[in-house]
């Protein structure tokens, strides 16, 4: 399935990129579809792609011994996930599962890193957005933890 610039522009993560920069994403991405209960990746999987949720619903969590899945969060449209694909050791910190028919933008992480080396400005902008995603995710997780620790 082919991505278009208009489609990317309507997604929150791709705000404030120029058309040229969006074309870079298009050249290294594809649209992937998942059905209910499809596992996009497991905790500790090696990751090659970084994803942005276009439509649908995804649950995120960790696994305990004896394969009990604990749901810890839900991903919303426009959100980036699988960011570990961009940093060594490229290992996932959680599992992600589709809980309804879902469409994502799948960006080739190795090719993205090559683009960062070619164009530092683009690299800095994208890494900043990824850092903000992680920061919010951490802040929300702390909030969730605080709720369990306090009344």
């Amino acid at each position: 399935m082919k991505l278009t610039i208009e489609e990317l522009k309507s997604v929150r993560f791709f705000d404030n990129y120029s058309d040229e920069q969006l074309k870079i994403f298009i050249s290294i991405s594809s649209i992937k579809e998942f059905k209910v209960k499809d596992i996009l990746f497991e905790q500790y999987d090696e990751l090659n792609e970084i994803y942005v949720l276009l439509s649908g619903c995804l649950s995120l969590g960790i696994s305990l011994p004896k394969e009990k899945r604990i749901r810890l969060g839900t991903l919303e449209e426009g959100q980036l996930f699988s960011w570990s694909a961009v940093f060594s050791p490229y290992i996932s910190t959680a599992w992600v599962m589709a809980t309804c028919p879902t469409k994502v933008v799948a960006i080739d992480a190795k090719k993205l890193n090559l683009e960062f080396e070619k164009n530092c400005g683009f690299g800095f902008k994208t890494m900043s957005k990824i850092a903000q995603t992680i920061s919010h995710r951490l802040s929300d997780t702390r909030f969730q933890l605080m709720n369990q620790l306090t009344l």
Binding site: L72, G73, G78, T99, S139, F143, N147
Partner: protein, 274 residues
């Protein structure tokens, strides 16, 4: 002119119904004996005869004058007694006190309500008030999080709001159970899915202290100005009259200057934010 009304004397209200919302939460339906009305966001001091009183923000519509509803969580001495009460007895009401939500300042705006836990009770009252003026509002979005699915009271509220023009309501839980198929995570994570014009928006945050802190910080990061964020601050409101000193928060008496404040008014208070 100084008036002769006794500010300490409660009016009596007959308890006509007790609704079980959850194992720890009940809603009391009261019919005051004297004329009584409140603005959404104001609070009352509700007393059990001879036992004690505690502050509550009514959870019912401020437009309904004959009755009011107060949602009470069993959490201490007085509320434990309240939970043992049966319809037919009289309770005492002092109030209404404080500064409620200035809904006329919301005209022409998109209203974002970020709520958590027990904050849903005053939020419910605010939603009734906003429904009444929805022609004057652009839209109203509720993002609400509870610890578990069973901690969320007023469950029919969400479907009803999603079927009301200009209203959207989203729910999430910190910890899902087997049957839960909705969002998991905190209310601030729900902010990722909403579409809102922040420049023409008002945000209201209401919930336990953890929610107030994290929620406000996230809203400011999103681009809300200090005077666009309304907070309902909770303190040990006791007299409700700005006299007994228990609810002082810096130079403010929460019972008189609040409980609704803009972030702008209280951002310098290190007690809350540090």
């Amino acid at each position: 002119m100084l008036i002769d009304k006794n500010i300490y004397k409660p009016i009596r209200a007959r308890l006509t119904d007790v609704i079980d919302e959850s194992p720890l939460i009940k809603t009391f339906v009261l019919v005051p004996e004297d004329k009584f009305s409140f603005e959404t966001g104001q609070f009352i001091e509700l007393s059990v005869d001879g036992i004690g009183e505690a502050p509550f923000t009514p959870s019912s519509s401020p437009l309904v004058k004959e009755t009011l509803e107060v949602t009470v969580m069993k959490t201490g001495y007085v509320t434990e007694y309240m939970h043992m009460l049966k319809p037919g007895i009289f309770m005492g009401i002092r109030g209404p006190y404080g500064r409620g939500y200035p809904v006329d300042k919301f005209f022409g705006k998109e209203v974002l309500i970020l709520g958590g836990g027990c904050g849903l009770a005053p939020i419910r009252s605010l939603l009734f008030a906003l429904e009444n003026i929805k022609d004057k509002l652009e839209k109203v979005i509720l993002c609400y999080g509870s610890k578990t699915p069973s901690d969320c009271i007023y469950k029919p509220l969400f479907d009803r709001l999603n079927n009301t023009e200009k209203f959207e309501a989203y729910r999430t839980v910190d910890k899902a159970d087997e049957d839960w198929d909705g969002s998991v995570g905190v209310a601030t994570a729900l902010l990722n899915k909403i579409k809102i014009n922040i420049k023409n928006s008002i945000a209201v945050v209401c919930g336990p202290p953890v929610m107030m802190k994290f929620g406000t910080i996230r809203l400011l990061e999103m681009g809300y100005r200090d005077d666009q964020v309304y907070l309902s601050m909770e303190k040990n409101m006791s007299c409700g009259l700005g006299k007994c000193g228990h609810c002082m928060m810096g130079e403010f008496f929460v019972c008189k200057d609040g409980p609704v404040f803009t972030y702008n008014e209280i951002k310098h208070n290190s007690e809350i934010w540090k």
